[in-house]
């Protein structure tokens, strides 16, 4: 079981960057690019900063530009967590 789930990410995104009125963070959004969900690089910086602190993982500087979708970010964080474990 993953230590970091899509639901965890959605909760964090809501908290860090709100939710767009026209985009509901429900259903199958795992592969929808962050940009299409209305989250810009600033929102991702806030969210990845949160994840780095709360999950005690170190994320590289370019994570917000190299990762495009929630699924990719979840996988990336889990990989980091596995490696740290």
């Amino acid at each position: 079981m993953s230590a970091f789930t899509l639901n965890d990410l959605i909760t964090i995104m809501r908290r860090c960057a709100g939710e767009l009125d026209e985009v509901q963070l429900t259903g199958d959004i795992a592969d929808v690019p962050f940009q299409d969900l209305g989250y810009d690089s600033l929102a991702l910086l806030e969210a990845t900063g949160w994840i780095a602190r709360e999950y005690a993982v170190s994320l590289p500087d370019d994570v917000v530009t190299s990762i495009e979708t929630p699924a990719e970010l979840v996988a990336f964080v889990n990989e980091k967590l596995d490696r740290a474990a």
């Binding site: 960057a17 709100g18 767009l20 009125d21 600033l42 900063g49 602190r53």
Partner: protein
């Protein structure tokens, strides 16, 4: 030369959300000053403030904006929305480089800043928000308002404490004169968090009274300081001919004159410069003292400052020479938002032919020789109004508003 007309106003005030609620409360003498509720202020020597109550940002703004904005920016964005709606302007239908934004600021997003300072000092640098780099700074309202409304023309952010609200309006007028069609302008401020209140206390100008009706008494012999408040107003300013072409849209009035001066240092033996600001503003407006129907005074509620202001008013208009009022006695002083809100009140006085009262002050100190509007609103023809604002440290600004020419 172009004439600067005000065609829309948006108000977020301690005694009323929205223009109608604010104006009705203000004419009735209803004060928004009360005990501080946002935090437990019982350990502070200042316990009263003009807090904006009932403002639910999430009811007015997309949730996307909330994590990145301080309380005062949220209020400014909503005031801007209301002002545009009032002016019946759809920014999306205008050329984006023809619209600009000029706001005044005094302390930035201070509550946001306190939270991030606490994160940094109490927990560590990695806890500081990605939004801190702009959410607290003085330029944030101009930036956020321009983004929300797609306004890409000239901008500006002025900081001259309470005088800044008038300086912003005057700078907006400069942009109109250079060809910008519409400028959103004014000021909204708040630093009513524990750190903000703590930073205000050393000015020595805050009232320590806990009696809400007697805490802030402009021009009263018993004046003992002012009550801090939050909120302000955003106005839509357009070139008069363009505004007139907008068919049946209301025109509140015209920013006809403006001037600002700066006082010499204390103990220099030189005279304060408020009187000169008044005279220059009248001259800029092409009016004389007799033309002025009312003065919306700065009304610091501090004896030394009240005396200087009263002397300047009497010197220009003569003793008891013009009705004077201080509606901010019902809101407290709103820093960069105060003068912008006074301008709205003055424009509504022109519209409705009535001057709002100064509350608290029963009778002004006789030595001031002021015809202060107290007790109840005073009806009468109001076509030309002088609004004064003075910023801590010596900033004096004066604006002359006139009724829209028919």
């Amino acid at each position: 030369m172009s004439i600067a007309a005000i065609t829309g106003v948006g108000v977020v005030a301690p005694n009323g959300l929205g223009t109608a609620e604010y104006w009705s409360a203000t004419l009735n003498g209803t004060s928004g000053i009360d005990r501080i509720t946002r935090f437990d202020a019982s350990s502070y020597p200042v316990q009263l403030a003009g807090e904006v109550s009932g403002f639910a940002a999430e009811a007015h703004l997309p949730s996307r904006l909330l994590p990145q904005t301080d309380h005062m920016t949220r209020m400014a964005l909503v005031a801007a929305d209301w002002a545009l709606a009032d002016a019946a302007v759809q920014p999306g239908e205008m050329p984006e480089f023809d619209m600009g934004v000029v706001t005044a600021s005094a302390s930035g997003g201070f509550e946001f800043g306190q939270r991030e300072l606490e994160n940094l000092w109490g927990r560590g640098p990695e806890y500081v928000s990605a939004y801190q780099s702009f959410a607290w700074f003085y330029a944030v309202n101009t930036g956020q308002i321009s983004i929300r409304n797609g306004m890409r023309g000239p901008s500006g952010v002025l900081v001259s404490e309470q005088a800044g609200g008038l300086d912003a309006l005057a700078h907006a007028r400069r942009h109109l004169r250079k060809g910008t069609r519409l400028v959103l302008t004014g000021g909204v401020d708040s630093s009513l968090c524990p750190w903000g209140l703590t930073a205000q206390i050393p000015s020595g100008l805050l009232s320590r009274s806990t009696e809400r009706g007697r805490a802030y008494l402009p021009f009263d012999a018993a004046a003992q300081g002012y009550v801090p408040g939050e909120g302000g107003a955003i106005l839509v300013m357009e070139e008069l001919e363009i505004a007139k072409a907008g068919c049946d849209r209301p025109i509140y009035g015209v920013l006809a004159g403006y001037a600002s001066t700066f006082d010499p240092p204390p103990r220099s033996g030189r005279q304060p410069r408020l009187r000169r600001a008044i005279e220059l503003a009248l001259s800029d407006a092409g009016v004389v003292a007799d033309d002025v129907d009312a003065v919306f005074a700065d009304g610091a509620g501090v004896a030394e400052l009240d005396r200087v202001e009263a002397a300047a008013i009497s010197a220009v208009f003569g003793p008891y020479g013009v009705p004077v009022t201080v509606p901010k006695s019902m809101t407290g002083r709103l820093f960069s938002g105060g003068a912008a809100l006074d301008v709205v009140a003055a424009l509504l006085s022109i519209r409705d032919g009535v001057l709002p009262p100064t509350v608290g002050t029963g009778r002004p100190a006789p030595e001031y020789q002021l015809d202060l509007v107290t007790g109840a609103a005073r009806p009468g023809t109001v076509r030309t109004v002088l609004v004064l604002a003075r910023g801590y440290g010596g900033f004096n600004s004066a604006v002359v508003l006139t009724a829209p020419q028919v």
